[in-house]
């Protein structure tokens, strides 16, 4: 084998790599926040909504979980275009990612909500808490705490999966890589660098979630239970 690795020709592109990292982080952060909010609401609707709403949310979750993100991204991007609306690729990317991650969050949160014992709800009712207060203080908070590790894994996967939006040329890290490798003809090296950047990102994101969890879930912090 005579291949000569040559990373130095990538050096001039360091700014572009960083821009890609930054946009990947932004895409993931926005999708995570919106996805979590939407997913939690869907989970509540599915646990406690009127029958028709339960069915609608259930069908939505099944459809999303049983079709590829890539196809969802294509549908959103090309679909919006054919409707005659001009949308920035980054916005279409966020939209598709949110639609996707809401379904996964809903499924995880549902498991968390189901794990909260009925007696807890009864106790809250007997203390005079209304439905909203009961939901927030007695159901959602412990449910989130319980499924937090599963949520974190899901959101790390989301960050990695955001690479798929490069296929509609959202300007995130993978799209940047695609451009740089066609400029430099150093494809293998480019993707090694980008692979390592993603690896680093996944550690950073995990670590950030861990820190956030320690901050928010005081019980876990105090009792030293692993998150």
């Amino acid at each position: 084998m005579t291949y000569q690795f040559e990373f130095s020709s990538l050096l001039p592109y360091w700014r572009e790599f960083l821009d890609g990292v930054w946009l990947t982080l932004q895409l993931s952060a926005i999708s995570t926040v919106l996805g979590f909010t939407g997913g939690a609401l869907c989970a509540i609707a599915r646990a406690d909504g009127p029958p028709w709403l339960k069915r609608v949310v259930g069908a939505y979750v099944e459809v999303i979980r049983n079709t590829p993100l890539l196809v969802q991204v294509f549908l959103v991007y090309f679909g919006i275009a054919v409707l005659g609306i001009r949308v920035d690729a980054n916005l279409a990317a966020v939209l598709a990612l949110v639609v996707n991650v809401v379904a996964y969050t809903c499924e995880i949160m549902r498991a968390g909500i189901e794990s909260v014992h009925k007696a807890q709800v009864e106790a809250a009712e007997c203390l005079g808490l209304n439905r909203r207060q009961t939901y927030w203080h007695v159901i959602l908070r412990p449910a989130i705490e319980r499924v937090y590790p599963a949520l974190v894994s899901q959101y790390v996967l989301l960050m990695l999966a955001s690479s798929i939006t490069s296929q509609i040329s959202a300007e995130e890290l993978t799209a940047v890589a695609n451009r740089i490798q066609s400029d430099t003809f150093r494809s293998f090296e480019t993707y090694i660098v980008v692979g390592l950047l993603y690896l680093a990102l996944s550690f950073v994101v995990r670590w950030a979630f861990w820190g956030f969890g320690m901050l928010v879930f005081t019980r876990r912090r105090k009792l030293g239970t692993a998150l």
Binding site: E62, R65, N66, V71, F78, L160, S202
Partner: protein
């Protein structure tokens, strides 16, 4: 401009066949590789545990898309760029699924109570006998549901094989859309075909899980 018709649908159906074929390759290859990595993860050797752990971290911490690019260009570097796209796609998806299956199966192996290992040890069984006669049969029961569930992930992720030039269902859809520009008709059909493949697997996995929970009660 041609409109989305029966000929296109036929093209999509054939592509769906390739999606299934690629999924099967990824599952079989990833299963064999993942099994040994799972064993390495619970091995008594620190070195094996460390190496297999790093492998899992690496696979789970990089996007599949990047993995596929690396394999595609890596094969080209060692002069294998004439290989069919199926090989590159199959190799990438095999590595991907091995990393995830190994972790799923490690969890199942470790969920068998430690006392089972001890009990088997006290019957003078070798480590291999303990594993194959006592632990594996129990772990496999727990592992079926999540494994079938992961099959769905594999099927969905074969959609990324298009980046190494493999024409499976998603790529076929994209090609048709390029010529017809009827994204709703095309991609909704594509999505429906994926759903037809994935949903039975999801339902099966849920059924297995439910049965397991009932059996444990």
């Amino acid at each position: 401009m041609p409109s989305f018709g029966l000929g296109h649908l036929w093209f999509l159906l054939i592509a769906a066949g390739w999606t299934i074929a690629l999924s099967a390759i990824a599952f079989l290859g990833g299963g064999v590789l993942g099994f040994f990595i799972a064993l390495a993860r619970i091995s008594e050797s620190r070195l094996l545990r460390g190496l297999s752990g790093a492998y899992v971290q690496l696979v789970q911490g990089t996007p599949l898309l990047i993995l596929l690019f690396l394999i595609y260009f890596g094969l080209a570097i060692i002069g294998l760029d004439q290989l069919p796209a199926l090989i590159a796609a199959g190799a990438g998806l095999t590595i991907y699924s091995s990393g995830f299956l190994a972790e799923i199966w490690r969890g199942c192996l470790q969920s068998v109570p430690k006392t089972q290992w001890e009990a088997a040890e006290c019957l003078a069984m070798t480590r291999w006998q303990r594993l194959t006669r006592v632990i594996l049969p129990q772990a496999m029961r727990i592992a079926t549901a999540p494994t079938v569930g992961f099959l769905v992930q594999i099927v969905k992720n074969t959609s990324l094989a298009s980046v190494v030039g493999f024409v499976e269902l998603s790529q076929a859809g994209k090609l048709i859309n390029n010529s017809t520009f009827q994204p709703f008709a095309v991609f909704l059909t594509v999505a429906a075909l994926y759903f037809l493949i994935c949903y039975p697997l999801s339902a099966w996995s849920r059924g297995l899980e439910r049965r397991l929970n009932v059996g444990r009660r």
